[in-house]
Symmetry: C2
Subunit: 237 residues, 2 copies
């Protein structure tokens, strides 16, 4: 298998991103100046600037002319309503995941309200259901469907602790570049009442999402139910 050479700006981006999310740079800190980053990474300023642009875009830093790059911290809750995956939303500290349906290959039924391309239909679908709990309170219930195209060993990977987004990014260089979503407020169905331990009058947020990636014609789909009653869904965008 031919491995793809990673562009230098991606390497720098991932390095800085990791440093921020691991707390080596903390909120309010100034990152090293662009020229310093050039020296430490052995690249030129346009390359560094491209990496920083991406960090700005993802909400990890803000830049001030004449000042520097200020760390905003790991974007809280990028994920529910924007990019990044739900795990980022609240930190992994209090979040546990219960696998309801283990990743398995299935034929496609339907991708919620989204249309599937012929190519996607040919291949199978990796299907999984998860329940996410915050401090043992069930808050998210999600169904995810991923086309089984060129993703060796995906169904064997653990979905317990890592976010799906990180997993796809790290193992397959798949990045979510955008997508579509449909949002509704519904009353809890019986299944949801059961999972969330709520009454039938409880309003629930339902999100149907199609995630596009940097691999052309590769999208995956998820349906997320959120009980935003106890834990508010807070997100940056």
């Amino acid at each position: 298998m031919m491995t793809v050479r990673k562009p230098q700006h991606t390497v720098v981006y991932e390095s800085l991103r990791k440093h921020i999310s691991e707390g080596i740079y903390r909120e309010g800190d100034l990152l090293p100046s662009e020229n310093e980053l050039c020296a430490t990474h052995g690249v030129t300023r346009p390359t560094i600037r491209k990496a920083l642009d991406k960090l700005v875009n993802d909400g990890f830093i803000v830049k001030r002319k004449g000042k520097g790059s200020i760390v905003k911290g790991s974007p809280t809750g990028v994920g529910i309503l924007s990019l990044g995956g739900t795990t980022a939303a609240l930190g992994t500290a209090n979040l546990t995941t219960r696998i309801i349906v283990k990743p398995e290959v299935r034929p496609w039924e339907k991708a919620f309200s989204f249309d599937l391309s012929d190519r996607e239909k040919e291949f199978g679908c990796i299907y999984l259901e998860r329940l996410r709990l915050i401090n043992d309170d069930p808050v998210f219930y999600d169904i995810t469907m991923i086309p089984n195209i060129n993703l060796p060993r995906l169904s064997a990977l653990s979905f317990e602790n890592k976010s799906l987004f990180n997993l796809l990014r790290q193992h397959y260089q798949l990045e979510v570049t955008g997508g579509e979503q449909k949002i509704q407020a519904i009353l809890a169905t019986e299944k949801i009442q059961d999972y969330f331990k709520v009454s039938k009058d409880q309003p629930i947020i339902q999100l149907d999402r199609k995630m596009d990636t940097n691999r052309p014609d590769f999208s995956f789909y998820s349906q997320v139910y959120c009980n935003a009653d106890k834990y508010a869904l807070i997100g940056t965008f």
Copy 2:
């Protein structure tokens, strides 16, 4: 007043963006190649690429190596759940706006669940309430609060047809660069029942949003209620 010179990549970006949203370039069309754009705009490729990067980021185009820049069309519904303002969500065709409270200067009470800086509290707050209707069905009810800092004549401007986002961008070069939001599903309160003509069992989406802009320390706030029952909230991100 010293007017700020617009960077060339911004000029190119706005020109292309306008052409796309006016339908001069249609969905599926290829934009002129980067080299052609260099020639027509009299700038070099990095400048053009910066403009195109922004268009990609805003969801107006996608790029394919070896192919070109493909127009995706005006991003539908960037706004409810991402950037851009609610007007973009459904096209202006069927959308009408009813002003409930005309823009007026008020002292700040509270910016929903968000904290205000001391500087924001010093200045007044431009307050307005709007009801948005799709085909005469009320779908959005929103309260907006904007710090009254250096926004001459804002309260005199018409909020009827234009989106607030476009208005701020065109008159004050204010661009929303990101923000925070809190989302909840609630049961319709009495006021909402009245505005939306729904029963008290109707689940409603409530969005509290803080919008950050390219002007440092300038944010504005809105609270949006959505009746997503009849018209689904569809958005790109």
